[in-house]
């Protein structure tokens, strides 16, 4: 009797499984087809790209869109701008957020609650809504049209600080206490105990922030008018506008616009493949901590 019960498989019935597979296939198709379409158009000739049709397979494979993007649109500069700005600001963000998170786990720190509140309140002030004043502040600090402006705005976020704080809370305090008794300074405790035990957290905020910075559109659109400082999203946006307008400069052909899209996507795919492991382990750690 017991054996029979053990054999009861805990699965959906056959027809339910079928429905499930059909649903997932549909989702998969709706997600993937637009991406295939973009890749195919980007590697077609300008002539084929402009023709009507499904464009899920090549009539003629060609890299002229990519050539156009680098030769005529000069996408190299915005690409390097984005790389520089994103890496620099993410790197500083990770350092500062983890330091701030460390401050918040000092259990006996006087005014810790006030400091926590000070940081929490900034999370309730949506940066998008203070945009006009942010513009004025940047103007007063001469940060308009500068790399520094692009790096400094959004340099620290309350969200990342809280995330690091939560990772640090799972570090046993006895470890820090015994190190302190051995005469270790705060920076040393932070560096040699808290940071190594929170690598998934560091990877998570690095990943989230890099993606956010790489994709950021509103702040660059507000701060930057000088085309030599354009980041990739700004450049893409101006290519897309050109492409839908009727007059003005000759718009980039479809294959070039799609090539620019593919080029902006590749770093994100790479970082996703590389960081997924950390991100998922980070999520499950957070979920199982309770």
């Amino acid at each position: 009797m017991m054996e029979r019960r053990d054999k009861i498989s805990n699965e959906l019935l056959l027809y339910q499984k079928l429905i499930n597979y059909v649903f997932l296939s549909l989702v998969f198709i709706v997600m993937v087809i637009p991406m295939v379409n973009v890749v195919v158009i980007s590697t077609s000739t300008a002539l084929d790209a402009g023709q009507a049709g499904l464009k899920l397979w090549w009539t003629k494979f060609s890299l002229e869109g990519y050539e156009y993007v680098f030769r005529v649109t000069k996408l190299g500069r915005p690409f390097l701008n984005s790389v520089y700005v994103s890496f620099a600001s993410t790197f500083i963000q990770v350092i500062l957020s983890s330091l701030a998170g460390y401050i918040l786990v000092q259990r006996e720190l006087p005014f810790r609650r006030a400091i926590t509140a000070f940081i929490l309140v900034t999370m309730m002030i949506p940066g998008d809504l203070t945009l006009i004043s942010i513009y004025q502040v940047n103007k007063q600090l001469s940060l308009l049209n500068s790399y520094t402006g692009l790096i400094v705005n959004g340099l620290i976020s309350g969200f990342c600080i809280l995330l690091m704080r939560n990772y640090f809370l799972s570090v046993p305090e006895s470890l820090a206490e015994s190190a302190r008794l051995d005469g270790a300074g705060e920076l040393k405790i932070f560096r040699s105990i808290y940071l190594p035990l929170s690598i998934p957290g560091l990877a998570t905020i690095f990943f989230l922030e890099f993606v956010g910075k790489w994709n950021s559109l509103m702040i660059p659109a507000t701060l930057i008018t000088d085309q030599s400082l354009f980041t990739l999203p700004l450049m893409l946006k101006s290519m897309i506008i050109n492409y839908s307008s009727v007059s003005g400069a000759p718009p980039a052909p479809d294959n070039a616009v799609m090539a620019a899209i593919v080029i902006s996507t590749i770093p994100l795919i790479l970082i996703y493949i590389f960081a997924q492991r950390f991100l998922l382990s980070g999520i499950t750690l957070g979920a199982s901590k309770e």
């Binding site: 989702v27 499904l54 006087p110 203070t130 502040v137 990739l232």
Partner: protein
């Protein structure tokens, strides 16, 4: 606690306070000061020459009486809530559905593909869909296949009647995978012994989904509702990239209108008054949502 002890503790932590200094400075300059400046400017009218003039509540009155702002409010709510609901439903369905899949390859490929667009900027996703919905794009290619020859292509991006649906669909296309990941992480952490016990008691898998999985997802749903209620008001990039003059009337939202008024048209007073109103609405909304979902009791 006596003052002496407090002082000794503060001195013990002086290094920590020194660490906090640059962080505090950053938040003051880039968070608190702009907030205060915005509120001050909302009571002033800037002039071409000379100092700005104090005008009391005139800017607020102008915002509330301006039909553009009323329209933008309606657009914000319809597109924002619409996107959130579609995204929520599909995120949940995808998560539940993937949980029933045994094959790891199928699982991880569907999950990766649905999550990927969430990593892409609106400049990328918007550009992509503008092309797909163009007269020579893929959407018309499909219609052509269905309807045969003699078909005239639809200019989707220039049809006001499709505009909101397009924003909702593309928004959900981009975001559903993110919600799915949050749900999947929560499903993974449900104690498997509950399922075993239910299955020994003869509950079918479907019943387990309805009586075990979904009730266990309620806390995650609350998190997502809180996240989403903030997101509704903060959708700038999508409209910035995908909007055009033929469809703006249907999709121009508050954030976008504030941006065009404040940064493009230099109506700083009007734009900051509108921003302050939206800020107050955001705070109210999030505190209502938090109370309704009892968010703080669960998470603090």
């Amino acid at each position: 606690m006596s003052a002496g002890i407090l002082w000794r503790r503060i001195r013990k932590y002086k290094f920590i306070y020194a660490l906090f200094l640059p962080i505090a400075l950053y938040f003051i300059v880039f968070s608190y000061y702009p907030l205060a400046l915005g509120i001050i400017n909302s009571f002033r009218k800037s002039k071409l020459i000379g100092a700005p003039e104090f005008v009391g509540l005139a800017n607020y009155k102008e915002v509330l009486l301006n039909p553009l702002y009323a329209d933008a409010f309606v657009n914000t709510v319809i597109v924002g809530v619409g996107t959130f609901v579609v995204q929520f439903i599909f995120g949940l369905l995808i998560a539940l559905s993937l949980t029933e899949i045994k094959s790891n390859i199928v699982k991880s490929s569907v999950q990766s593909v649905t999550y990927l667009p969430n990593l892409l900027s609106w400049a990328i996703v918007g550009g992509m869909w503008i092309k797909i919905l163009a007269p020579s794009g893929m959407a018309n290619g499909f219609l052509q296949l269905l309807k045969g020859s003699g078909f005239t292509p639809v200019v989707f991006m220039a049809e006001p009647k499709y505009a909101r649906a397009i924003m909702i669909f593309t928004g959900a296309w981009k975001g559903a995978g993110y919600f799915a990941v949050l749900f999947i992480a929560a499903i993974v952490s449900i104690n498997s012994a509950i399922y075993e016990a239910a299955s020994i008691d003869g509950a079918s898998r479907i019943k387990q989904i309805f009586y075990i999985t979904i009730p266990n997802l309620v806390p995650t749903m609350k998190v997502i509702v809180v996240l989403g209620s903030m997101g509704v008001l903060r959708n700038f990039d999508q409209i910035f990239v995908m909007g055009n003059s033929t469809i703006y009337d249907k999709i121009r939202n508050l954030l976008y209108l504030i941006y065009t008024d404040g940064i493009v048209n230099f109506k700083v007073g009007l734009a900051t008054a509108a921003a302050t109103l939206v800020l107050i609405a955001t705070l109210l909304l999030s505190s209502i949502v938090r109370r309704m979902t009892k968010y703080d009791e669960t998470y603090n």
